[in-house]
């Protein structure tokens, strides 16, 4: 009995030591918070708690957004907005100035349009194959297979890596003297210059992007698959449903809310893609894998003439597209919440 009391005492004292800094901070904060509450009243206190986040959001998201719109309406190469001449929608006109919009070479800003078409190609391929592969993986991982937990972890692991690390790993594998070419030559084949051939470069850009993010979407689909009650499949079995028909008529429709989330999220993420493709291919060969975000980055920061106005206008246009996609996602998410 006394032993128990003693151990409880030690536990209490240990806990007391651990919580001491917390208690101290609370005591220090208590005085001004009480003063604020007395001054503005208890009902307005929630706004005080929201204020720090609002400030950070305003400073690092909302203000740059406004500034970006401001830059997109100005010209010249000066950094400070106050020193830049107002050009109205001139930058947008420059971006949209084409003889034939389907042929980037006829556009004044041909790199922007190449970026747009490359991004569309990249996004379409990435979304289609991302959904296919993550669905296939989720279905397999949902089966009673040996080492299921291990494989679930393995497929999710790349998601934890930084996109730059992912791109560097694959660059080491795919470059001229990389692992893959090493394996090909060992087997008697000829080296393939993956980053010199435009088709290969786009293929690997899409492949690496899918490899890096597939685990996340697989997880969403796996959660959806596990939410489908097992007795529905048993009822289908009693109904004499063949496996493929059960997948097509039961699994796919019941998984649709998750599939829509995956499609829209991968669409948004695909449009935003920059770092992994930039590190992997640098947008090359030529402009074969140049994406819109890379165009914006280079126009604003790495070209000899830093054109903040043009980059700002391209950013705003990209922002509008992303906003529309986000609305689409919210629409489907709300539709999914409503009872049907």
């Amino acid at each position: 009995m006394s032993g128990k009391a003693a151990s409880g005492g030690i536990g209490d004292r240990f806990g007391g030591v651990l919580s001491a800094p917390y208690t101290l901070i609370m005591k220090v904060l208590d005085i001004p918070m009480r003063a604020v509450q007395n001054a503005i009243g208890e009902r307005r206190m929630p706004y005080v708690f929201l204020l720090p986040n609002f400030l950070l959001f305003g400073l690092f998201v909302f203000l740059p957004l406004i500034l970006n719109v401001g830059y997109s309406l100005t010209g010249g190469s000066k950094l400070y907005l106050s020193e830049r001449p107002f050009v109205g929608l001139g930058q947008y006109a420059t971006l949209l100035d084409c003889t034939n919009h389907l042929q980037p070479s006829t556009c004044r800003e041909d790199h922007f349009w190449r970026g747009v078409y490359n991004t569309i190609t990249f996004v379409v391929l990435q979304v289609v194959f991302m959904v296919l592969f993550s669905l296939l993986t989720a279905v397999v991982l949902n089966m009673k297979i040996r080492g299921r937990g291990f494989f679930r972890a393995v497929y999710f692991f790349p998601v934890l890596l930084s996109p730059v690390v992912v791109a560097l790993i694959w660059k080491w594998i795919l470059q001229r003297e990389g692992l893959l070419n090493g394996a090909i030559t060992t087997l008697g084949g000829e080296k393939i210059l993956f980053f010199v051939e435009p088709g290969w470069a786009m293929f690997w850009a899409v492949f690496v992007s899918i490899w890096a993010h597939m685990g996340f979407y697989t997880l969403i689909l796996l959660a959806g698959l596990q939410a489908i009650p097992a007795d529905i499949y048993e009822a289908a079995e009693m109904d004499g449903t063949k496996k493929w028909r059960a997948f097509h008529r039961l699994t796919l429709p019941l998984l649709m809310p998750n599939l829509i989330v995956v499609i829209v999220l991968s669409l948004i993420k695909g449009v935003q893609t920059f770092d992994e493709v930039f590190v992997l291919t640098g947008g090359g060969p030529g402009t074969a894998t140049l994406l819109v975000v890379q165009y914006i980055y280079e126009t604003a920061f790495s070209n000899q003439v830093q054109n903040f106005g043009l980059a700002g206008a391209a950013s705003v246009m990209l922002g509008v597209v992303l906003f529309a996609l986000t609305l689409l996602q919210l629409f489907f998410a709300r539709k999914g919440e409503k009872p049907t």
Binding site: P229, D231, I232, E234, A235, A236, E237, M238, D239, G240, T241, K242, R245, R249, L250, P253, L254, P339, T340
Partner: protein, 357 residues
């Protein structure tokens, strides 16, 4: 309609045995209810008949043909699940038609069968609704309809009324009885609710720990239980059990009560510990001089048409007595009780019933 036969059916999950050799014959058009406490293996047995669980050992035969290796869909059975297991994205019509489409039936035949089932189950107004837009009772009717349209040899019901509230359960019970009368199919029904078992079954199969304890008609089980488990499980409120000892051949000394002359105890040796069982409706209030036992009343439940009295004494376990609705007994009363002799059940030390020769 069909006959079903189970012979030496065993089920094991790895080293864990859940069904220990079940033998059972179910006749054409019979309504048989599997009943037992949770974990007794009744649902497992049903799922093995359905083809949703593999049979570890023994055989399941339908109309004389062993179906152990026949896939669920080809056994000609239909099952109604506890959770309804309706396809949530399909309408009532699509739910019922899905299995028929799998069978490759022509569209007019599918429509005819669904129409017939929906009329029978009064589901016509809901044909285009999704399951989410239906009440629990309506969903259960759709699940039953899905089974009916397949025109199965045997209907299997796995605790189909468990998710319904008490009032709806009673209503659905009546509907199921009427349905059986109308269709006349062989039906196997699993429940843990002995009232459902008593009201629905032609025959009841009482299961415990993967073994059949007794098979019989509801009244057979009620009046002639094979053992103390069945006696306690069938009947509500449950049978009272009083500990006793064989004082002399044919005489039982009840702990805390009078000695009872029981012909059923004639063959038992003196000194053997036994249990005397008596149902609450077979215990009578009497004068002190006629009392077999005395108890102090702990609780009185007036249900209007009947009254339940609960009491005990220092030497007797808790007892339940059923009386008329106008019974005047109150809490704290000392009640002299007489046990109606020809309604007593005697169980030996192994829990098996002993009957008079």
């Amino acid at each position: 309609m069909a006959q079903l036969e189970l012979k030496g059916v065993h089920k094991s999950y790895g080293p864990v045995k859940t069904i220990h050799g079940v033998d059972l014959s179910i006749g054409d058009g019979e309504f048989v209810v599997f009943v037992g406490p949770s974990g007794c293996g009744k649902s497992t047995l049903l799922r093995m008949i359905a083809g949703l669980e593999e049979i570890t050992d023994g055989t399941v035969s339908i109309d004389g043909k062993v179906v152990n290796d026949v896939p669920a869909a080809d056994r000609g059975l239909a099952m109604v699940f506890q959770s309804y297991a309706l396809y949530p994205h399909m309408s009532v019509y699509q739910n019922m038609a899905f299995g028929l489409e799998n069978m490759g039936l022509p569209r007019p035949e599918i429509e005819k069968r669904v129409q017939r089932a929906t009329t029978m189950l009064q589901l016509e107004p809901y044909l285009q609704r999704k399951p989410k837009m239906l009440s629990g009772g309506q969903r259960q009717r759709v699940a039953i309809g899905r089974a009916i349209v397949r025109d199965p040899k045997i209907f299997l019901f796995d605790e189909p009324l468990s998710n319904l509230d008490a009032e709806l359960r009673v209503a659905m019970r009546k509907e199921l009885s009427a349905l059986h009368a109308e269709i006349g199919g062989t039906m196997i029904y699993v429940t843990h609710d002995q009232v459902e078992a008593m009201t629905l079954a032609d025959r009841i199969v009482v299961l415990r720990a993967g073994r059949i304890e007794q098979v019989g008609t509801p009244l057979d089980l009620y009046h002639r239980p094979a053992n103390q488990f069945v006696a306690g499980f069938i009947g509500s409120p449950r049978m009272n059990f009083l500990k006793g000892t064989v004082a002399a051949p044919g005489t039982i000394a009840i702990a805390g009560g009078r000695s009872l002359d029981l012909p059923a105890a004639a063959g038992l040796p003196a000194g053997e510990e036994v249990t005397v069982g008596i149902r609450p409706e077979h215990v009578a209030l009497c004068g002190r001089e006629d009392a077999d036992v005395m108890i102090r009343l702990d609780l009185v439940e007036h249900l209007g048409g009947e009254t339940y009295l609960y009491g005990q004494s220092e030497t007797l376990p808790s007892m339940t007595i059923k009386q008329d609705g106008d019974c005047a007994a109150t809490r704290g009363d000392m009640l002299p009780l007489r046990l109606v002799r020809d309604r007593l059940h005697l169980f030996d030390s192994a829990g098996l019933v002993r009957r008079a020769a």
